[in-house]
Symmetry: C2
């Protein structure tokens, strides 16, 4: 049901039956290693190219979610997913292996919540029994495409972010009525916001206004206030974008406690890992949400999370052509009644 101008309320509360979360060596050395299903100890993962390794991350995340959910690919109606690579080939190649009817999505690092919002809508109205949705990135594949091959050793400013290696996939189903699984209650779809910033090494700063626009719209559309959520977590604003977004939200009169407003890009890696402002990449919010945060929800650390995945919709070409960086954010509410 549409509520306000850009929010859906999911009365039937579609559930997250299971998830699959895969990562690379840098994630294995990070803060959240215990929340991954599979961690690879090198970036090649036994493949010939980084892009094939990227596909493998998705395939393994899909396999894991299916296995944990106790269903097979044939039970799943749709797969909604995307990544950052040109023509999202790692995801499409993984979809070829999965043999599930497929919607390719591109929302840069907002793809995770674009997919979760659409999947929840489809399930809420009986458009499927089961849906798989997710997003992913691979540090070396993404860095060589957007910036330099990592082997080149290019230096980066402190505002830059480290592209996460990993895939996060969720297997969704209609509400089972058992009350033991996390469920989706609403989603707010973002507009493209462009404040005229042009620095591709400060995407967090560029994306912060998009996150703020979507978060404000979410509260305005739902009539809720921030106290409804134990946690409002952005996708990958990292240090620079997180503090900018917090200030902008405060200026808008939204009272959010500092500890209640976190960022996936600041949670994934340890303080002493050389990731500049934090993590990024389409996989970042998918990994942290479908791994760590759902685990915390199941433990009872949180009861209601607003997950706001943020995306910078630029390309190397638009940067070279002197364009500014259009950004977007989509927010999805995930709740759970008790501990699992």
């Amino acid at each position: 049901m549409l509520k306000g101008s850009q929010t859906w309320i999911f009365d039937s509360r579609p559930e997250i039956l299971s998830t699959g979360v895969t990562g690379g060596p840098f994630e294995a050395a990070g803060n959240l290693a215990g929340d991954f299903d599979i961690l690879h100890d090198d970036l090649w993962m036994g493949e010939e190219t980084y892009e094939k390794a990227h596909s493998l991350l998705i395939e393994k995340a899909v396999d894991t979610a299916l296995k944990k959910g106790g269903v097979t690919g044939k039970d799943i109606q749709f797969f909604l997913a995307g990544d950052l690579i040109n023509q999202i080939t790692p995801t499409s190649f993984a979809a070829r292996k999965a043999e599930i009817p497929y919607f390719g999505l591109f929302g840069a690092c907002s793809t995770s919540m674009e997919g979760l919002a659409l999947s929840a809508f489809i399930l809420n109205y009986g458009g499927a029994e089961y849906i798989l949705t997710g997003a992913s990135s691979h540090n070396a594949a993404v860095e060589k495409q957007f910036r330099y091959p990592t082997e080149y050793g290019g230096q980066k400013p402190p505002t830059a972010q480290w592209t996460a290696t990993g895939a996060g996939v969720a297997l969704l189903q209609k509400n089972s009525g058992l009350g033991t699984l996390p469920y989706i209650t609403s989603a707010t779809i973002g507009k493209v916001i462009d404040m005229g910033l042009t620095d591709p090494f400060n995407m967090g700063g560029a994306m912060a206004p998009a996150a703020v626009d979507t978060i404000s719209a979410h509260f305005s559309d739902t009539g809720r206030d921030p106290s409804y959520y134990d946690l409002i977590v952005t996708g990958d604003l990292a240090k620079v974008g997180n503090s900018a977004a917090y200030e902008l939200l405060s200026n808008k009169g939204l009272k959010i406690e500092k500890g209640q407003f976190r960022d996936c890009g600041m949670m994934l890696f340890k303080e002493d890992q050389p990731v500049q402002a934090g993590a990024s990449g389409a996989g970042c919010s998918a990994i942290v949400l479908y791994g760590h945060l759902l685990n915390e929800l199941k433990k009872g650390t949180y009861r209601r999370i607003l997950a706001v995945a943020t995306g910078a919709l630029l390309s190397p070409l638009t940067f070279q052509q002197g364009e500014t960086i259009p950004c977007i954010a989509h927010a999805v509410s995930i709740e759970m009644d008790g501990r699992q």
Copy 2:
């Protein structure tokens, strides 16, 4: 409502209120010039880059659809669209101007029907009052990315296709009950199909099995047979793929008349235009469907159309890495009760 394994039936029959169709000089010299709203007489369209011209095609198609529909951007809840350019920047940049909550899609040349299927689903269940959806391509922007800059004058084999320049956008609404507009009755979402073909200059041949898989699934899921439709039209299989698909469908026992099975890629340009096997590009099916075919539907030439947009999910990188070409097709049924 899900019917069978991969088909949605839209009981409330969302309508196409209006469309906007823009094109370039080659389209102006083609078969369907009279079905465009705006035709540009050169590929630059007054812009500094082909990519900006690409965005302009989308912006003008959106403006036209809104104007013809008698609504403003503020009335529209969502914009679902995509294109072929890396990170679909022409569409995202157009979405920035439109200021409408935005879902970026990537399904290569299947994007038009991926967007129409999702939009119809959302409208069918009250997830929006109005939705804009569409797809686009720009010959020079796409050719330079996937093959060579057109200025280079690279030669192509007869199986190659000519990337269309243009954008097709549809403005959808809930069924008005007036019975004077085309409406959407079902959609079948395709799987990724890869028969091991590797020649990027024969995408029609590569995509034909995906079209056949989705068309077969559509009839199997709905219990309809091909005689239900006056026209089954594929996106851009062009000459090679069209005859391959027709043969594959016949082999599956689906009785389709030759005149009832057409292809947008064989309709757009004149026989004497140097387009080898025909037209292609994400804009091709969007232009032909939202322009010419809806006009024919309104004239009464057709009453029921199954539009099957086909996409080749490769990239220049996957080709260089020796990968085969995964393909997909999504089918949407568009019907109209009488002449407008």
